[in-house]
Symmetry: D3
C-alpha cells in the first residue's frame, strides 16, 4: 500500500523540482539547498558544514554548483538522477560514505528500495561482483537505519 503511494507521489515530485528550477534560474544557491533538502532529508546546512568544516567553500560549491546548477536541472527527474549516482558510486567503489548518502537520497527522492537494489545488483555486470557486493553492504546499513526489512526491499 505504501509502495503504491510512492508511485503516485513520484511524478508530482518530479514536476515540482522542474518547476522550481525553471521559476528562478538565477538563484542556484536556493535551488541547490532545496534539492539537497529533498536528498538529505532536512538539516542540510548543518550536515554540509560538518563535511566541509575545514574547507567551507567546498560546501558552497556543493550547494550552489553540484546541486544548484547540475542536479536541479530539468531534463531528468530527481529519482533517475539519484539512481544514476548510486550506479556510478557503486561502480567506482571508492566512496562508501557518499554511496550510503545517495542510497538514502534515492529513497528520499521517492525511489523504492527495490529500485535501489536493482541498480546495485546490475553493477555486477558492469563493474564486477565485488563492487556490487560492497554496494549491497552499503544498502544493508541504510535499510537497517531506516527499518526497511528484507521482505520489503527484495520483493
Amino acid at each position: 500500500m505504501t509502495k503504491t503511494l510512492i508511485l503516485l507521489i513520484a511524478p508530482i515530485l518530479v514536476v515540482s523540482v522542474a518547476a522550481t528550477a525553471g521559476a528562478d534560474a538565477a538563484d542556484h544557491h536556493a535551488r541547490g539547498m532545496a534539492t539537497l533538502d529533498i536528498i538529505v532529508g532536512g538539516d542540510v546546512q548543518r550536515r554540509l558544514d560538518s563535511l566541509t568544516d575545514i574547507a567551507p567553500e567546498l560546501g558552497t560549491w556543493i550547494a550552489d554548483f553540484a546541486y544548484g546548477d547540475v542536479v536541479s536541472r530539468p531534463g531528468l527527474d530527481l529519482r533517475t538522477r539519484e539512481l544514476a549516482t548510486v550506479a556510478a558510486l557503486t561502480a567506482l567503489g571508492n566512496a562508501q560514505p557518499q554511496l550510503k548518502a545517495h542510497i538514502n537520497g534515492a529513497l528520499n527522492a521517492g525511489c523504492t528500495p527495490t529500485e535501489v537494489i536493482e541498480v546495485i545488483m546490475q553493477m555486477a555486470v558492469y563493474a564486477g561482483f565485488p563492487a556490487s557486493l560492497n554496494g549491497i553492504s552499503a544498502a544493508r546499513e541504510v535499510f537497517a537505519e531506516r527499518n526497511i526489512t528484507v521482505e520489503n526491499a527484495a520483493k
Copy 2:
C-alpha cells in the same frame, strides 16, 4: 513530435519487457537475446560473435547471465537501467567502446538524447569533469552516427 511519440511508447516498452521476464523465467538465453535485441537494435548474434570470437563462452555469459538474468529483471525499467549503465561507464572512464554501445542502447530503449546528456553531465559532480567530457565525446560520436543534431540533443 517524434519526442512525444517516444515518451508515449516508453511505458509500453517497459511493461512488455517485464511481461517477457515473468512469462518464462527459466529461459534466460531467449530473454537475454530479446533484451539485447532492444539495446543493440538487432543483429545481436553477429555482434556478440565479433566481440567474443576468441572467447565464445563470454558471448554466452553476456546473453544468458548479463542480459538474461540481470538486465531483463523486473523491478526497474530498461530505460532507467541503460541510464544507470551510462552513468557507471562515464564515471569509470575506462571502457569507451562499451559506453558508446550503451549510449546507443539507452536511445534504443527509448531514452531521449537529453536524458543521456543529462546523466553524462551529472557525472562531472561525482567523477570529475574529465570523465564527463569524455562521456560527451562518446555521445557526440553516437549522435553523429544517428544524425541527432545538437539542437535536438541539448534542448
Copy 3:
C-alpha cells in the same frame, strides 16, 4: 631446459582440473557450490546468504555464474585463478573485504603464503605502492586469523 620441463608439467596440472570440471558440465550450480566450498572452506550457503540477504539472486549468480560458469572452468587451475583474483583486487584497491576473502581462497586452494605475498608485492610495479601496501594489510589480517607466522609467510 628448465622451460621444457615446465611445459611438460603444466598440461598434467590442467588436465587434472579439467577432469573434475568435465565430470558434470551441465550442473553449474553444483559445480559452483563445489568450487566455492574449496575457496571459502565450507559453510558456503550460510556465508552467501549473509552477503546477499537483501539481494538473494545476487547469491544465486555468484554460485551459478561466477563460480559455476567462470571460475570452475578447465583451462586454468584454481590456484592460478585465485592468485589472478588476488592480483586484480590488490590492483583495484577498492574491495578490501573481497581481497581478504580471496587471500583466504588462494590459501584454501593450495597456494603457499609466499605465493600470495609475491603476487601482492608485484602489484607495487603495476598499480603502485599504496595498492600493494593495502594488499599486505589484508594479508596480515588473514595470516593472523590463520596463525600463519611471518617466518612461514615471507620465506
Copy 4:
C-alpha cells in the same frame, strides 16, 4: 590426491626459477634485463629506450627495480607472474598498451593462449564485462600479430 600431486610439482617449478635468480642476487640490472628479455622477446634496450626517451631514468627503474628486483624474484614462477599482471591490467582497464605487452609477455614466458584467455574472461566476475571485453580486444590484436588462430586459442 590431485591436490597432493600439484603440491609436489609446484616446489620444483619454483626452485628452478629460484636457482636462476639466486645465481647473481646482487646484479639486479642484469637480472632485470634477462627477465625482460624473456617477457619482451628480445631487443629489450631499444624498446625500453623508445618508451622512456624523455625520461631515461624511468627505463632504468623498469629494468633494475621492476624486473630486476620484483618480477625476477623467486617464490613465484614467471608464467604465473605474467598471468597475474594480465589479470590486474585487464581489471584496471586503463593501460591497454601495457596489457598488450603483457599478453605477449605471458605467451613468451610459456603460457598457453588458453590460459591468457581464461584469466581475461575471469575478470568479468571481478571487474565487470566491459573490462573483460576490452581485455579480449587486446588479446585479439596480439593473437593476430602472432598468427594464433581462434581454434588454438579458445580450445
Copy 5:
C-alpha cells in the same frame, strides 16, 4: 639560463593570478576565462565550445565553476595547481585527452618540461609503471607539438 628565467618569472605569475582573484571575487566567469586563457594559451571560448557543443552548460560550468571558483583561488599558485592536476590525471590513467591538455597547461603556466616529467615519473611510485608510462606518452606528444627536444626536457 632559460631555467633561471622561469624561476624568476614564476613568482610574478603567481602574484598576478592571486591579485585578479582578490580584485573581483564576485565575477567568477571573467576570472575563470582569464585563468583558462593562461592554461589553454588563448582561443578559450572556441575550444570550450568544441568540447561541450552538445552540452553547452558543461562549458559554462568549466569556465565559471572549475576555473572561476576553484582553480583561480589564491592559496596555491597556478603552476603547482597544474602539476597537481597532471599528477592526478596520470594516476587515474583514464583521461588521456585531459592529461595532454594539462601538460600543455602546466607549461603555459610557467612549469618547466623537467617539472612536468618529474611529476609523471613520480606517479610510477603511487599508481604504478603503466600509468607513468602512459603519462610519458602524453608528454612526448605534447613536447613534439611544442618542439621541446628530449635534451631540454630530461636534463
Copy 6:
C-alpha cells in the same frame, strides 16, 4: 607571519635535498631514508617495518627505490612532490591510509595546511566531489592529530 616564515624556509629545504641527491648518487638507500625521515617525521625504520613485516623487501623497495631513486630526485622540490602525491591519492580515492601519511608528509616537508586543503579541494574538479570530500576527511583527521585548528587551515 608564520606563513611568511615557511615561504622563506621552503627554498632552503629544496636546495638541501637536491644537494644530498647530487652528493652521493650511488647511495640510494641513505638518500631514501633521509627523504623518508623528512616526510614521516622520524622513526622511519620502525614504521616501515610495521607496514612491511610480512614482506620485508617491500620496505627495502620503498626506502631504496621509491624514496631513494624517485622522490629524492632533483628537478622538483619535495613540497611540490608531496602536494602532487596528495592530489593523486585524493583522486584515486582507494588508499586512505597513504593519503593520510602524505598529508602529514606534505606538512612535514613545509607545505602549509592551506596548500594541502587547496589541492584536495581542487580534486573536486578532476575526480569529483566524493573523492574531494573523502580527502577532506583524511585532512580533518591529520589536522586534529597535529592540533591544527580550522581557522589556521582554511584561511
